[in-house]
């Protein structure tokens, strides 16, 4: 028997007499009931609560309807309760639809609770200030409970969120261990980072990255300023709040063990990237030559560059020669299969006046390139009831990470920028990166004689050791006092301490092979950089809630509830670092900074670190008033005012207003197929702070020789920076449909939101004329308009005896347009452009001509004079010169639109099938649609004719051939061209898992839960994208440098990133 947990009230208007009468009646009944209960013969009922898959629901509440008495289910889902005759039990648990049961004569009940995919009985906190029943929440708050986490996600909260939240783009742009995800909630609100505010149990922390999934109970996500306003000047990008696991009063200790193992290898796409054929000048036997002589590796394994057949003297040169030399698959040489292990133990329980949850977890991940990353997390969450109404809760997570990853990346700490992985991929196939020097047996460092700046990343491990270990403590103390009436006071203090030790050692390479031409690090003599970085983030929140219930508190006959919230919020972030740096290291141990021939030290984490020490302070207060009439309608309004050391010259506050409304027509009507329907609207403003010292006049400090010099920055200072403001309007509806059919599609839940952002005073680094002495100025110049929809649907598709099929669908669309930029002048940054009136993520470049009569940018001059057109033809949609076989490019200034780095929509499809409560199969497809990628890798591969495109014949002058001139003309010296913009849409099988619940099947006594899961992640990708992984995109320009600013607005370049992994998992869960 399934009964909705929502009570429907009749809608007739009550008269004053009615109410008086009712009051009397209720009191009489209560009195009588009490009398009856104290006298009547109770009976004992035992029972068990499980979910639809048969897994016990520990801690489910069992209450006797109409009586303030109940119990909770034990860890195995069983309970025992004394009930009066005829009593009805209400069984509920967060995340499930509650059920009412009238125990039968045998005094036992078995209750199956069905997951309510968007349970309206749930309570949410984030973005509403105070725990509010979901049915009365006026904004969209998405949540993810532990049970909804894809089984293939290991250890990472970010992985767990992927595809689960409509309108949240959670993208891993690298398969390197420890890489965080790029998270965008509802489009872009600034040109900078889009990363949302991250909170753990109500307290701000630095990042979601590194938080251990096993400590997490559930996650709430609010996506825009309407909810983010509560967080003021830091809330505009939305908020992701993590709630850590808690124990429960009067609960025996329950132990849950999780052991997971994963094996993965990089995604390689479906295409061969590297050409099978070549077009080198060869000798009679077909071997590649240089200057007439056959090329061969020298004693180090380094190869001369072969001479290329020159299409400028013979345009009909084709690429069709098979390699006579032995060739190597460089991806295979570089990347191994990597394994990951994750083990956690979690103990929860509680006594009369306390509860506890402890988690210990250990996570070990191999990098596909080399070395490892590991993390140990210890978390404790304890709560005490100190006095009636007075509770204290302390939650602390300690996260230790250690990694010694080497990724072939240039060392940014010493000014290096582009990645050396470049050389691995972008090199002649006959080069063997595993070649060793014949005398010293070291791996070749420079494998290509013509290109000494590109090193063999695989040799890095022989010459470099680096480690980074960090201790991160997230401490959160909360004291809460609820007065018997009206007032609740709550104080939270959170501190995140994050200390990192880095060690970076390049060996002395003075005697290394090839060291006269190439060496790792900055100095041939080697170097050691030791640095220590300390971050302290404090957050102190004092809140007072004043609640009234007109009926209860004032005995008025109006069903009105009010909540007034006042919060004082203070945040401070301190960061500092010190480094010691030594160059020219002896060849004998010990290896430390002291023994280095030259050494230097300073603030920050590397020589020249511009922000070695920083302190950021912001504080503000919030006043928010909510008024609700029954559960029918509610409005709220308020404002938050913030001060910050980063804006308003340090003294001018900024005030963010807010207002919300919800209306539940279901309170007024009784429609069986529509048991729940809410419409809601919210408006709010929130901010994004400028950089800590952006508003201050500051000279660049540089150590030059033995002098510490000062110089002007290329940015003109601007003391009057303001906070960037995002104004959001959100309109939405939540509804539950019941079909009345028993088996097929019994219920559907939907949530729909339309949202619109206007972001004003967005910071822009506006270009200036260089003759002013500066080339840029940071100012609040830009306006960005975004809009989109978020849609979630959760349906129970099929519910027959042994089979249960649940389906979830998430859809988010977004488009952010730069409606105003300074002077209307394009912002150009590497391959990225921000153009007024165009969406952010805009790609616009020089383009190959597409028609013979195409006009130049002036709109009148044809590119090709009419009399010359016979010399040209169209090949693959591009104009080709029939004499040179080259594609004709338009002028560099004639920019053509080539799409957008951001998807038109992201969607996911989640299916779960349960059979006989023991076997669960689930899979999740994630879909990105309409996003474009600038395939920088492919363009680089055109340089040396390495791209597999060069193997493909085209027809020019009526003759097919893999013409070198045709392809080489498109390389264009890495000048951006629309030709290399590709459709990056993909549909990816994010998760597939099969879980078998042994405890049910085997009737184990000792285990309350024992399940085995096999899962896969990223197993199938359907895409037209020609590169390795359409998700592994970055903000790098053609040389691999990050942009100076606007990292948020500039995405979608494929620059030699480590692709995500295709992986397989096995996991075992044990609970007892």
């Amino acid at each position: 028997m399934v009964i909705s947990g929502l009570s429907l009230e009749s809608t007739h208007t009550l008269t004053k007499n009615d109410i008086q009468m009712r009051k009397c009646l209720v009191l009489t009944i209560l009195f009588m009931a009490f009398a009856y209960l104290s006298q009547a013969q109770n009976r004992e009922v035992t029972g068990k609560v499980t979910d639809s898959t048969g897994i016990p629901i520990s801690g489910a509440s069992i209450n006797i309807k109409g009586v303030r008495r109940g119990t909770s289910a034990g860890p195995d889902g069983t309970f025992r309760i004394q009930i009066p005759p005829g009593a009805v039990l209400v069984i509920s648990s967060i995340g499930y639809d509650p059920q009412e049961v009238r125990p039968g004569g045998d005094n036992t009940v078995t209750v199956t609770l069905f997951q309510s995919n968007r349970s309206l009985s749930e309570v949410v906190v984030t973005g509403v200030g105070v725990a509010t029943s979901r049915k009365r929440v006026p904004i969209e708050v998405s949540s993810l409970a532990g049970k909804d986490v894809a089984k293939s996600s290991i250890g990472s909260v970010e992985q767990a969120l992927q595809g689960k939240i409509a309108g949240a783009q959670v993208q891993f742009t690298s398969g390197t261990p420890g890489s965080g995800a790029n998270i965008i909630l509802r489009g872009l609100n600034s040109l900078g980072e889009s990363y949302p505010l991250i909170m753990v149990d109500g307290i701000e922390v630095s990042t979601l990255n590194g938080l251990d999934l096993s400590t997490v109970d559930r996650v709430e996500v609010v996506k825009g300023a309407a909810a983010g306003m509560l967080y003021g000047a830091q809330g505009a990008n939305g908020v992701i709040q993590v709630f850590t696991k808690k124990g429960m009063h009067n609960k025996k200790p329950e132990v849950n063990l999780l052991s997971q193992a994963s094996w993965g290898s990089i995604l390689k796409g479906k295409n061969n990237q590297i050409a099978k054929y070549h077009s080198f000048v060869t000798d009679a036997e077909g071997y590649a030559t240089q200057g007439g002589a056959r090329i061969q590796p020298d004693e180090f394994g380094s190869w001369a560059s072969p001479d290329l057949l020159d299409p400028s003297s013979d345009p009909t040169v084709v690429q069709n020669k098979p390699y006579k030399e032995k060739t190597y698959d460089h991806l295979k040489q570089a990347y191994r299969n990597a394994s990951t292990y994750n083990n956690s133990v979690n103990v929860t329980g509680g006594g009369d006046r306390s509860d506890y949850a402890f988690t210990l977890s250990r996570y070990d991940e191999q990098n596909v390139l080399s070395n490892t990353y590991n993390r140990t997390s210890i978390a404790a969450n304890v709560g005490f009831t100190l006095a009636p109404g007075l509770t204290f809760r302390n939650s602390v997570s300690t996260i230790f990470t250690n990694e010694n990853l080497l990724s072939g990346d240039a060392d940014i700490s010493i000014g290096g920028t582009s990645s050396d992985r470049f050389g691995l991929f972008n090199s002649f196939p006959f080069i063997n990166f595993m070649a060793r020097d014949s005398a010293t047996h070291h791996l070749v460092v420079s494998a290509n004689q013509g290109d000494n700046t590109t090193k063999n990343p695989l040799s890095e491990a022989e010459w470099r050791t680096r480690t980074s270990s960090s201790n991160r403590i997230i401490e959160n103390a909360n004291l809460n006092y609820k007065f018997p009436k009206f007032l609740e006071l709550d104080y939270k203090y959170g501190i995140e301490l994050w200390n990192t030790d880095n060690f970076n050692y390049y060996l002395n390479q003075e005697n290394a092979p090839q060291s006269n031409i190439v060496f790792w690090g900055q100095s041939k003599g080697g170097s050691i950089l030791k640095s220590y970085n300390k971050l302290t983030r404090q957050n102190s929140l004092l809140s007072a809630y004043f609640r009234t219930d007109f009926e209860k508190d004032f005995h008025m006959d109006v069903p009105i509830r009010t909540t007034t919230q006042f919060t004082y919020d203070w945040r401070r972030t301190d960061e500092s670092g010190q480094f010691a740096y030594g160059t020219v290291i002896p060849t004998f141990p010990p290896f430390n900074v002291s023994v280095a021939q030259n050494h230097t030290s300073g603030d920050g984490t590397y020589p020249g670190d511009p922000l070695g020490i920083s302190t950021f302070v912001t504080y503000g207060y919030l006043l928010n008033q909510t008024i609700e009439y029954k559960d029918l309608i509610g409005i709220s309004g308020g404002f938050r005012s913030d001060y910050s050391s980063a804006f308003g010259s340090g003294h001018t506050p900024f005030t963010f207003p807010r207002g919300t409304i919800f209306f539940r027509p279901t309170e007024l009507m009784s429609i069986s197929w529509l048991p729940e329907w809410k419409v809601r609207a919210a408006y709010g403003e929130a901010g994004i702070q400028p950089g800590t010292y952006d508003r201050q006049k500051a000279l660049i400090v540089a150590q030059l020789g033995n002098v510490t010099t000062n110089s002007n920055s290329f940015q003109v200072p601007n003391p009057n920076l303001k906070v960037q403001v995002s104004k959001e309007l959100e309109i939405g509806t939540d509804a539950t449909f019941k079909t009345g059919w028993e088996n097929f599609l019994p219920s559907i839940n939907i949530a729909f939101s339309y949202w619109k952002h206007k972001n004003i005073d967005v910071l822009q680094l506006a270009d200036l004329a260089a003759s002013s002495g500066y080339t840029q100025k940071l100012d609040n110049l830009t306006t960005i308009d975004s809009k989109g929809i978020d849609f979630s649907l959760d349906a129970s598709m099929l519910s027959v005896k042994d089979l249960q099929w649940d389906f979830g669908f998430r859809l988010g669309t977004t488009r952010s347009v730069a409606t105003k930029i300074n002077n209307g002048a394009d912002v150009v940054n590497g391959i990225f452009t921000i153009k007024q009136g165009k969406p952010l993520g805009y790609f616009s470049y020089q383009a190959p001509l597409h028609s013979l009569d195409q006009l130049q940018e002036d709109g009148k001059t044809p590119y090709i004079a009419a009399s010359d057109r016979a010399n040209y033809e169209i090949v693959n949609g591009m104009v080709v010169d029939k004499t040179t076989y080259s594609v004709v490019m338009g002028n560099p200034g004639d920019q053509k639109e080539a799409g957008n780095a951001y998807p038109n929509f992201t969607a996911s499809f989640i299916n779960t099938f349960s059979y006989k409560k023991n076997l669960t199969l689930s899979f999740q497809w994630d879909w990105y649609h309409g996003n474009k990628i600038y395939n920088t890798v492919r363009q680089w591969l055109y340089r040396d004719r390495l791209s597999s495109d060069f193997d493909k014949p085209v027809t020019i002058n009526g003759t097919p051939g893999a013409y070198v001139a045709y392809y080489a003309s498109l390389y264009n010296s890495v000048a951006p061209s629309t030709f290399f913009v590709e459709d990056g849409s993909f549909l990816r099988l994010r998760d597939v898992s099969l879980t078998y619940n042994l405890s049910n099947g085997l009737h184990l006594k000792w285990a309350k839960n024992l399940s085995l899961t096999v899962a896969g992640r990223n197993l199938i990708t359907v895409t037209h994208y020609s590169g390795l992984d359409p998700e592994a995109t970055t903000t790098a320009d053609s040389q691999g440098n990050p942009p100076n600013a606007y990292s948020g607005a500039l995405k979608g370049a494929d620059y030699f990133a480590v692709p995500n992994l295709r992986s397989y998992q096995a996991s075992l869960r044990v609970g007892f």
Binding site: T289, Q290, G291, G292, A293, Q296, S302, D307, L308, S312, L386, A387, P388, G415, S418, S446, Q449, Y481, Q514, N516, I517, F519, S523, K524, Y568, P607, L611, G612, V617, Y643, G650, Y693, Q696, K697, L699, A702, Q703, L704, G705, V707, T709, N710, S711, N712, F714, V716, D767, A769, A770, S771, S772, G773, T775, A825, D826, T833, P892, S973, A975, Q1039
Partner: protein, 556 residues
């Protein structure tokens, strides 16, 4: 209940503590970087700021990250002057270095560059902000105005009455600022069609009055004169204040083995530079006797061989210098970077028996053998980018006894060198008819550089032969000394062939496939460079600073 009260008091106490948060806590002063309003009020702050003027050469070039734009600029002059070549597209080098056409030894076959257009067409095509680092016009322009801006700020700060400096120290700082302004306007006026004269003291404003390059040179010389005025206030041999200030202003890696110039040497540098400003901004054919005499007069009191002058160096282990690990002319040519390569056209300008050739040039072996220093064999037409991009020579690194190429060793002049002064004296004398006097200066440079060549003065050389000696010596003696492009321009070599430009008998290392030979070979060709004389003002400037009415032309 008492218990409860206790906690309430704690809560209230907490509230009061929080309420005590003061607005003053918002006054977070950047603890990492000085505020110029404060730092420039002290001697040490001025010195650090003066020394930091060269830090402005480190600029976040679009697509390239932080790069030394002075090294880029110097390299541009070297590759256009065909001392070295650079076949890569970074910083637009490949297009700056794009020879229009090479006529093969058969005198008939003409091979155009792969783009088929002149340097001007390419560079103008890239003159937009969206072209990023491919816009060749931005580097020297940006560097010049960055220097000028910082020098202007420094001069304004030096007028602050709170600053209590000894007269000689004040004069040294002012001379330093005027020197950089004079230097910057000289470079701008010698490279761009027109420019801006900006005396804004660092507030970030500019003006739209573009004046032609001759007017910019006038402004340059004016600043050199102001510099001289200040230097004349100091003891010619330097005093403690001068030396104290200069030991900070001249960065240590720019001072290695060179030492600090005295005020007298610095004054001579100004004269040499003024002579250069005249010499390089007129075609040699247009030089009048009066021009030559002016040069002779200026150079008579110009840098003397052995004088110390301002140079751009590197630190030994690549730390705390301005190269960003590679951007220095010697490093670019050196074994580890190998971005620039010795031009066949430079090597052919050595006289037989020149010790500088023995010291500096090695012949690259032919594949499959590679040379000792570079792990390189001779190559032609690299990546099919043009016939000028091939060579069978490399520069012997300084580490192995050479002078020109290195990994972290050596210096190049920022302004003029004594050799340049000497050869300007030589040229002026030769053109004024004093051939042997002129050749004496050529000999002086050769012996100063240990060329170990027989003297040519008083050997009865004809005027044409004397000019050829001078031309060769300017090529070899002033290698990497900043004049290669100016010379090629004023000698008419970079002009279109149709107007008499180009170089006959220019050695080109040709692919065997092109000349029907089993091996690659260096052979004499006709090289038509067809380069722009003066560059366009970068569009990056014009997008935000439209020329005011009456402005001089900003584009070719």
């Amino acid at each position: 209940m008492k218990m409860k009260n206790k906690y309430l008091y704690i809560l209230l106490g907490g509230l009061i503590v929080l309420g005590a948060c003061k607005k003053s806590s918002l006054d977070q002063v950047n603890p990492n970087q000085p505020n110029p309003d404060i730092s420039l009020q002290s001697d040490a702050g001025i010195a650090a700021y003066g020394a930091g003027i060269l830090q402005r050469t480190i600029f976040p070039v679009p697509n390239e990250g932080n790069s030394n734009i002075m090294a880029v600029t110097m390299t541009n002059h070297s590759i256009m002057g065909d001392e070295v070549f650079l076949p890569y597209g970074n910083f637009s080098f490949r297009w700056i270095n794009q020879v229009y056409q090479v006529t093969l030894p058969d005198g008939v076959t003409k091979v155009k560059n792969p783009f088929g257009v002149t340097q001007q067409v390419s560079l103008q095509g890239f003159n937009s902000r969206s072209s990023g680092d491919r816009n060749a016009f931005i580097f020297e322009w940006t560097m010049g105005y960055f220097f000028i801006s910082q020098a202007n700020t420094m001069l304004a700060a030096l007028s602050n009455s709170k600053l209590n400096l000894a007269a000689s120290r004040l004069a040294t700082y002012r001379a330093w600022a005027y020197w950089w302004k004079g230097y910057s306007y000289s470079r701008l006026g010698s490279m761009y069609l027109s420019g801006i004269i900006n005396n804004d003291p660092g507030t970030g404003s500019t003006n739209g009055n573009f004046v032609d390059h001759n007017a910019i040179i006038v402004e340059a010389n004016k600043n050199f004169d102001s510099c001289a005025t200040q230097l004349n206030l100091i003891d010619p041999g330097g005093d403690d204040d001068y030396n104290g200030a200069m030991s900070t202003l001249v960065l240590t890696f720019n001072n290695q083995g060179v030492g600090l110039p005295t005020p007298a040497m610095w004054l001579r540098q100004l004269n040499t530079y003024k002579a250069r400003n005249l010499l390089v901004n007129k075609k040699v054919a247009d030089m009048a006797a009066g021009d030559w005499q002016t040069i002779k007069d200026l150079c008579a009191d110009g840098l003397k061989l052995g004088d110390r002058y301002f140079v751009f160096g590197m630190s030994l282990d690549g730390t705390n210098d301005l190269t960003n690990t590679f951007l220095h002319p010697k490093d670019l040519l050196g074994p580890s970077v190998q971005w620039t390569f010795l031009s066949e056209r430079l090597v052919q300008d050595f006289k037989t028996g020149d010790d500088r050739f023995t010291r500096n040039v090695e012949e690259l072996p032919v594949n499959p053998v590679t040379d000792d220093y570079y792990n390189l064999s001779a190559f032609t037409n690299i990546r099919s980018r043009g016939l000028q991009f091939g060579t069978h020579y490399a520069a012997i690194p300084i580490e192995a006894g050479g002078d020109w190429a290195s990994t972290n060793l050596g210096t190049v002049p920022i302004g003029c060198s004594p050799e340049e002064n000497e050869l300007m004296l030589a040229e002026a004398s030769i053109y004024l008819g004093d051939i042997d006097e002129g050749l004496g200066h050529v000999d002086a440079v050769r012996s100063f550089q240990h060329a170990n060549l027989a003297d040519v003065a008083n050997t009865g050389l004809s005027l044409a032969a004397a000019k050829e000696e001078l031309r060769k010596e300017r090529r070899i003696g002033l290698f990497e000394k900043g004049v290669a492009f100016y010379d090629a321009r004023r000698w008419g070599i970079t002009a279109p062939a149709s107007t008499g430009g180009g170089r006959a008998n220019a050695m080109v290392y040709l692919p065997g496939t092109l000349i029907g030979s089993p091996t690659d070979k260096a052979m004499p060709c006709f090289m038509e460079y067809n380069y722009m004389d003066y560059w366009d003002v970068p569009q990056n400037e014009l997008d935000f600073n439209a020329p005011a009415t009456g402005s001089s032309a900003v584009k070719n």
